[in-house]
């Protein structure tokens, strides 16, 4: 699992790739909460995620709630089939703000 963080238009773009499971999700959580603590909106790019489990989803939920409490933007972008299936199973596809492309997400949040 790899995490890449870039800045685009005053937002943090966190690109996650590989398998997010019990052993790797703490890193995802730390990365996301780290970005939020610097008071920037966060876009999570899930295009490279081959697998995500409940602990990975929990990290996304926690980050989403933390951002909301600070009135910061939080969106998912380019969600590939596998994580989308898991979000649907958890009925979270209607809770998260999800954009098809990064550009859409940035345009919506800036």
């Amino acid at each position: 699992m790899e995490i890449g963080i870039t800045e685009q238009g005053g937002l943090s773009v966190v690109a996650i790739s590989g398998e997010v499971d019990l052993s790797t999700s703490p890193k995802v959580r730390d990365a996301l909460l780290g970005c939020i603590s610097s008071n920037k909106g966060v876009i999570v790019d899930l295009s490279g995620v081959a697998y995500i489990d409940s602990s990975g989803v929990a990290s996304l939920v926690e980050a989403f709630q933390t951002a909301k409490s600070k009135a910061l933007g939080f969106a998912l972008a380019q969600v590939s089939d596998t994580p989308m299936r898991v979000l649907k199973l958890a009925r979270l596809d209607q809770v998260f703000v999800i954009h098809d492309t990064l550009d859409d997400a940035i345009a919506a949040m800036v």
Binding site: E19, D21, L22, S23, Y51, D53, S54, S55, V57, A58, S59, V61, E62, Q65, T82, R85, V86, L89, A90, R91, L92, V95
Partner: protein, 586 residues
């Protein structure tokens, strides 16, 4: 002269037959009294140390029995005779102004004539023999009688001295045999090679060489119901019988308590509490306890004040593992109590050496200590020479056991060698992949789908890092069963979540224990059995969360129930741990 020799021989024989020096002295006094024709006599033995020295009558002959009579060592004829190592004669007591007749007044016996000769051998004072009243003639002793008594007394003294020495030797022999028996019992406390089953490739073995007959060191190991091996090595301060007894107590506690709850840190805490309840006279025990799982190579270790064990990795490097708590025997109130902190290791084909300081501080042929470096060199050489673990540690003990010399200290070494177990693990993974996933499991030739039976069985440590392997096994087998790609992904997720629950909840994140995942095809269904050895989980508390309540966590159970057709918590066949059965129709 003949009488003298005869007396010596007779006393020697008599003592050899009776083994009772008191009876022998009584016999001797009787013979002497007869030979000097005395009416009565007494044999006094010097007892106690100065200034409490006294003379006690051990044998009495004649009309008045004074056995047990005690007189001051410096008083009277007997006292003088012993003090000066010279014989005394009071030829005519009744007419001797120096003779104290008060005793006669008490006993009603009339003392007419007295002879007294010291009993001594080469300056060692034993006591004196006194005889009274010659039976023949005028009833008075003469110089000849005194000379005869002196000669006989010399023989008697020699016989008594010999008997005493023989008695001491016999006592020592009894002690030596008792000690041998104790040593035999102690050797019986050590575990049999190969464990209870005497397995040839058993991964744990030890060596113990006592410096004296008994030892203050010990090691032990035994296999638990789930295949893990509990082990310990300990060193009791001191080397004598007291150390051996404390060793026996500690060893018994390890066996008893270890079978109840084999968590090394807690076990050492409990042993400490038990040991501290008895008075220890400042003795203590440095002790290592641990548990090793041959299935995963995982080892949990707790060290109470013991010499740091050495981990020898397959890359040839050594790592020392320092003690994490004070020794057993230090009262918990002094140290704050609590379980001894544990260290978790993964041997990965390496070996863990636990030893007492006798193994590193022992002398080699060049009169130098072997030292930790020397020990490591021998281990390294042993491995590169292809020696078995037992042969490697025997070589260390042999090198320190110099012929004809007592050891400086007990030598004890225990080794947990993961090499064979690693090979078994690799073979198992190979077979699993070869038989079950790559070629496909038990294919029905016509339909090209698996027939009923086990598709894949895995035993993995209950850790987050094991989940990847589990997912792969589920992915391959579900795909082989003909599920769609999305269904396969769902099954992977569901089984992953179920295993996560074992790791996070059943074992409560302790990183301890294994789980067994058995994937089966049963009458048109894909069935996954997950088995653990953790304390039983309260099934009533496992509920999926309300999805309207958006919060992190609690989604796993929901995923499992969403994906699977059936989810059941079963009782494991042997009543240990938990068993989850999940089913999805193919």
């Amino acid at each position: 002269m003949n009488d003298q020799l005869e007396l010596l021989v007779e006393m020697g024989r008599h003592f050899a037959a009776t083994r009772d020096i008191e009876v022998t002295m009584g016999r001797a006094l009787e013979r002497i009294a007869e030979l000097v024709e005395a009416e009565g006599g007494a044999l006094f033995v010097l007892e106690g140390d100065e200034p409490q020295e006294r003379l006690v009558c051990h044998a009495s002959y004649g009309p008045v029995d004074i056995k047990g009579l005690t007189v001051p060592a410096d008083k009277g004829i007997v006292g003088r005779s012993v003090a000066t190592d010279n014989s005394e004669m009071v030829r005519d007591a009744q007419n001797d102004p120096n003779f104290d007749t008060s005793m006669d007044a008490q006993s009603g016996f009339t003392t007419r004539s007295v002879l007294c000769a010291p009993l001594s051998v080469k300056g060692e004072r034993i006591g004196a023999i006194e005889v009274v009243n010659k039976t023949g003639g005028d009833g008075l002793f003469a110089d000849d009688d005194l000379t005869l008594l002196e000669a006989l007394a010399a023989s008697a003294a020699l016989a008594i001295s010999n008997a005493r020495m023989a008695g001491e030797l016999a006592e020592k022999e009894v002690m030596r045999r008792e000690l041998e028996l104790a040593a035999e019992i102690q050797r019986g406390l050590l575990p049999p090679p190969g464990g209870a089953g005497g397995e040839e490739d058993f991964p744990v073995c030890g060596v113990n060489r006592p410096a004296r007959v008994v030892s203050g060191d010990f090691y032990d190991y035994f296999t638990l119901y789930d295949g893990r091996i509990a082990f310990t090595l300990a060193d009791v301060s001191g080397k004598g019988m007291n150390a051996a007894l404390l060793m026996a107590k500690t060893a018994s506690l390890f066996r008893c308590l270890g079978k109840e709850d084999m968590r090394p840190g807690r076990l050492l805490q409990r042993i400490n509490a038990e040991v501290c309840e008895t008075a220890l006279r400042g003795m203590f025990v440095t002790m290592v306890a641990g548990i090793y799982d041959p299935v995963s190579g995982r080892l949990v270790l707790a060290n109470a004040g013991h010499e740091p064990p050495l981990l020898h990795s397959t890359d040839g490097r050594f790592k020392t593992l320092e003690a994490t708590a004070p020794p057993v025997g230090i009262p918990p109130e002094l140290t704050g109590g609590g379980p001894v902190p544990e260290v978790v290791l993964h041997l990965n084909g390496g070996a863990l050496y636990i030893f007492t300081d006798g193994a590193t501080e022992g002398y080699v042929a060049s009169d130098e200590e072997l030292g930790a470096d020397g020990f490591m060199d021998m281990v390294r050489d042993g491995v590169s020479d292809g020696l078995s673990a037992q042969a490697r540690i025997d070589a260390v003990a042999n090198r320190l056991s110099r012929s004809g010399e007592a050891l400086r200290d007990d030598i004890t070494v225990l080794v947990i060698d993961d090499a064979k177990s690693l090979q078994n693990r690799l073979n198992r993974v190979d077979n699993t992949l070869k038989d079950e996933t790559v070629r496909g499991p038990n294919m029905d030739q016509g339909a090209n789908i698996p027939v009923d039976g086990s598709l894949c069985a895995l035993t993995v440590p209950a850790r987050a890092s094991s989940l990847k392997l589990v997912r792969r096994a589920v992915g391959e087998t579900s795909s082989a069963c003909g599920f769609s790609q999305e269904q396969c992904q769902d099954l992977v997720l569901a089984v992953d979540e179920a295993c996560q629950n074992v790791v996070r909840h059943a074992y409560a994140g302790t990183d301890e224990g294994d789980m067994v995942i058995d994937i089966r095809r049963e009458s048109g269904a894909y069935v996954v059995l997950i088995r653990d050895h953790a304390p039983p989980v309260d099934v009533a508390k496992i509920v999926p969360r309300n999805l309207d309540d958006v919060r992190p966590g609690g989604l796993g159970v929901h995923f499992i129930r969403e994906v699977m057709d059936e989810v059941e918590h079963l009782s494991p066949p042997d009543g240990q741990g938990n068993l989850l059965r999940m089913k999805k129709a193919i």
